[in-house]
């Protein structure tokens, strides 16, 4: 059995407006929204991979494409050794039971008119799972540490944290190996968020799950992820073990993200020393040529405007897409140490 569970190769997902075919043809060059624009990524069996980036970076689309919930324009997705890029019908349905998504907004992903018990059994009905292979409602609720009294309630009667747990239970019903969690703690209070992260960790150990955790919150991935991928405008800028990426980041964008984190420690106030990239993320409809970050980057030179930097391995397992990474790393070493606080 290979170590790699999900292997994404040369993936592109472009969204086209509703146009005539010839307009669409023209748009390929200029007007398409390039949500994912050439991504290579491996997710290893049993690990938690954190995918971080600002809104508009394409991180949620990437998660959905891997689950075949969003279209592929180019490239391939290999899941557990087989190419799933073109899978349809029954084959796709079988695949779906092995990979599931925990959605960002649990209340909008649970039908308000159905009771929790019904919602939990829904995956079995859709997939025609024989009774002996099903978990019972109580087992599912117990798995996510909810009381069995909730079975007869409706989604609006649940708190945010409880609804999130029901979402997780639904994702687990079909005994998947791979879960994509999109902003698992968004909208939750600190302590409810902590409980969800703890639960996800326990479930991973118990059920041998592999996670892709999508978030803009670096402190969450710092806590849960084994490896980290940093995404910007449809491309990966840095991939590697969490410790290496956060302790010794080699991409200026990773530095900028790190310096923007609000640490819960007033001694770590950064004031003007933050490395904020000026302006906002450009439109994926018209991404800058060359390195996509050059419009906001302090290290950009003529070369960045022309040549697209490739992901290169700078130390075992640590990949960076920047022409000037050695310079970035030495010049920003102090700030990286400060950004991570007093370890």
């Amino acid at each position: 059995m290979s170590d790699v569970l999900v292997d994404v190769r040369g993936l592109r997902t472009w969204f086209f407006g509703r146009r005539w075919w010839f307009e669409r043809f023209l748009e390929r060059e200029v007007g398409a929204v390039r949500a994912i624009d050439g991504v290579d990524l491996e997710i290893r069996r049993g690990e938690t991979l954190g995918l971080v980036g600002e809104s508009g970076s394409g991180k949620t689309t990437l998660g959905k494409v891997i689950l075949r919930l969003a279209p592929v324009t180019e490239g391939e997705i290999i899941f557990d050794g087989s190419d799933i890029t073109g899978l349809r019908g029954a084959g796709l349905r079988r695949l779906r039971s092995r990979m599931q998504m925990i959605f960002q907004d649990p209340h909008s992903s649970l039908s308000p008119r159905l009771r929790i018990a019904y919602l939990l059994m829904e995956p079995y009905r859709i997939n025609d799972v024989p009774r002996e292979e099903r978990y019972t409602v109580d087992e599912l609720l117990e798995m996510v540490e909810l009381s069995s009294e909730l079975a007869s309630k409706y989604p609006h009667e649940l708190s945010g944290g409880q609804a999130r747990r029901v979402g997780i239970a639904r994702a687990l019903a079909l005994r998947p190996e791979f879960l994509v969690a999109d902003e698992p703690t968004a909208g939750l209070d600190v302590s409810a968020g902590a409980k969800i992260l703890n639960l996800m960790r326990d479930l991973q150990a118990r059920l041998q799950l592999t996670y892709l955790v999508i978030t803009h919150n670096l402190s969450i991935v710092d806590y849960v992820a084994d490896r980290l991928a940093v995404m910007y405008l449809g491309k990966l800028f840095e991939v590697g073990p969490t410790d290496r990426v956060l302790d010794a980041p080699a991409h200026p964008y990773t530095h900028a993200l790190l310096s923007a984190v609000s640490e819960p420690d007033p001694r770590l106030r950064r004031g003007r020393a933050r490395l904020l990239p000026p302006g906002e993320i450009p439109s994926p409809r018209n991404p800058p040529p060359g390195c996509r970050f050059h419009t906001r980057c302090a290290f950009a030179e003529e070369r960045s405007r022309i040549e697209v930097p490739a992901l290169e391995e700078i130390e075992p397992g640590h990949l960076v897409a920047c022409h000037f990474w050695p310079k970035v790393r030495t010049e920003l070493a102090d700030s990286a140490a400060r950004a991570r606080g007093y370890r």
């Binding site: 703890n198 969450i220 710092d222 819960p264």
Partner: protein
């Protein structure tokens, strides 16, 4: 209180109580809330959802919903009692002295008018002239590039971060002495959040604008505030200088909140979560409201509502620090930290 001390308080809230009337029973949303904001000070109010943060900001702005009533206490703005102000006088105060930045800019801006027109209306409503240059210069100040050319744009043409800046610009237009910022960064990415926090700090440094910063995010509060009030179940449970609070929280709730924040130093460990849930306002326990979730609770806490105590320049609402409470092994603020 001496005249000088009065003078140095911009906003003073004393023993504030707010009740929401419902068909079944009145719900006590705020109880005995006391704190103050001095000029050019950034004061944070933190707590989980349902702790009364938003009720507090609504009460301060005189914007409580019709079923909300202030049943006790005092809100004074520059020694003027705001609670008994006539509506038209309160309206004058809002905007020119007190301004609020709301959580969700898209629902607070009118989608059918241009940004320039909406800002001009604010100026005119307060007797100013809606002059384009002035509006554009305020927008540039909060970091909207090429503002002059964008005055005719509508809210949907701006990104989320830009809209939040526009909200801040509108709050600043009349140069208020105090801004109430309610969860202003919770919908933003970390990079934009950092920019907005920096902007608020700069405004304080340049103009001496005081800010009451309401948030559930301890990280953000640690970055921007001078002083912090922690709220739980409608009560202020702790107030301290930001450094003191994060260094050594006194109240068990503050301690538990801080322990629940995920970060690299805790990887692989179980995050400390607080057992149970915030009690519902319709079924508050009689004594300490945190008693069911507290690691240090003793039987006395079930009966005795803790007092708002002053200890070494800090304040805390907890029987554990009150010699009169009958709590066994009462602690002092400078003594052993609140750990079992």
């Amino acid at each position: 209180m001496t005249a000088a001390a009065e003078e140095s308080r911009l906003l003073e809230v004393e023993g504030l109580e707010v009740v929401y009337h419902t068909d079944e029973q009145p719900l006590p949303a705020l109880y005995d809330v006391t704190f103050s904001v001095r000029p050019s000070e950034i004061v944070g109010v933190v707590g989980e959802s349902g702790c009364g943060k938003s009720t507090l900001s609504a009460a301060l702005m005189g914007l409580l919903p019709p079923n909300g009533e202030v049943t006790a206490g005092r809100i004074a703005y520059r020694t003027e009692d705001v609670l008994h102000l006539r509506p038209e006088n309160f309206r004058r105060l809002r905007g020119s002295e007190l301004a609020m930045i709301f959580q969700d800019p898209l629902s607070s801006l009118n989608p059918t008018f241009s940004i320039g027109a909406q800002m001009r209306d604010v100026l005119r409503a307060h007797g100013g002239r809606g002059d384009r240059h002035r509006i554009a210069s305020i927008l540039e100040r909060v970091g909207i590039p090429d503002a002059q050319a964008r005055l005719g744009d509508y809210p949907h043409q701006f990104s989320g971060g830009m809209r939040q800046r526009i909200m801040i610009a509108m709050a600043l237009m009349l140069e208020p002495a105090l801004i109430i910022a309610d969860e202003v960064t919770s919908a933003l990415d970390v990079t934009l959040e950092a920019q907005i926090l920096e902007l608020l700090r700069e405004l304080r440094d340049e103009r001496g604008t005081a800010v009451l910063f309401i948030s559930h995010d301890l990280g953000v509060v640690a970055q921007v505030c001078d002083r912090v009030v922690v709220m739980y179940a409608g009560r202020a449970v702790e107030e301290a200088d930001v450094y003191a609070l994060f260094e050594r929280p006194l109240h068990p709730y503050t301690e538990a909140l801080l322990a629940a924040v995920p970060s690299h130093t805790r990887r692989g460990e179980q995050l400390a979560s607080i057992p149970g849930r915030v009690p519902s306002l319709s079924a508050l326990p009689p004594g300490c409201k945190f008693v069911d979730r507290c690691a240090y609770a003793q039987p006395v806490n079930r009966e005795r509502e803790p007092r708002w105590l002053e200890l070494d320049g800090r304040k805390v609402r907890c029987n554990m620090y009150d010699p009169e409470s009958g709590y066994e092994g009462v602690r002092s603020a400078d003594g052993s930290p609140a750990r079992a």
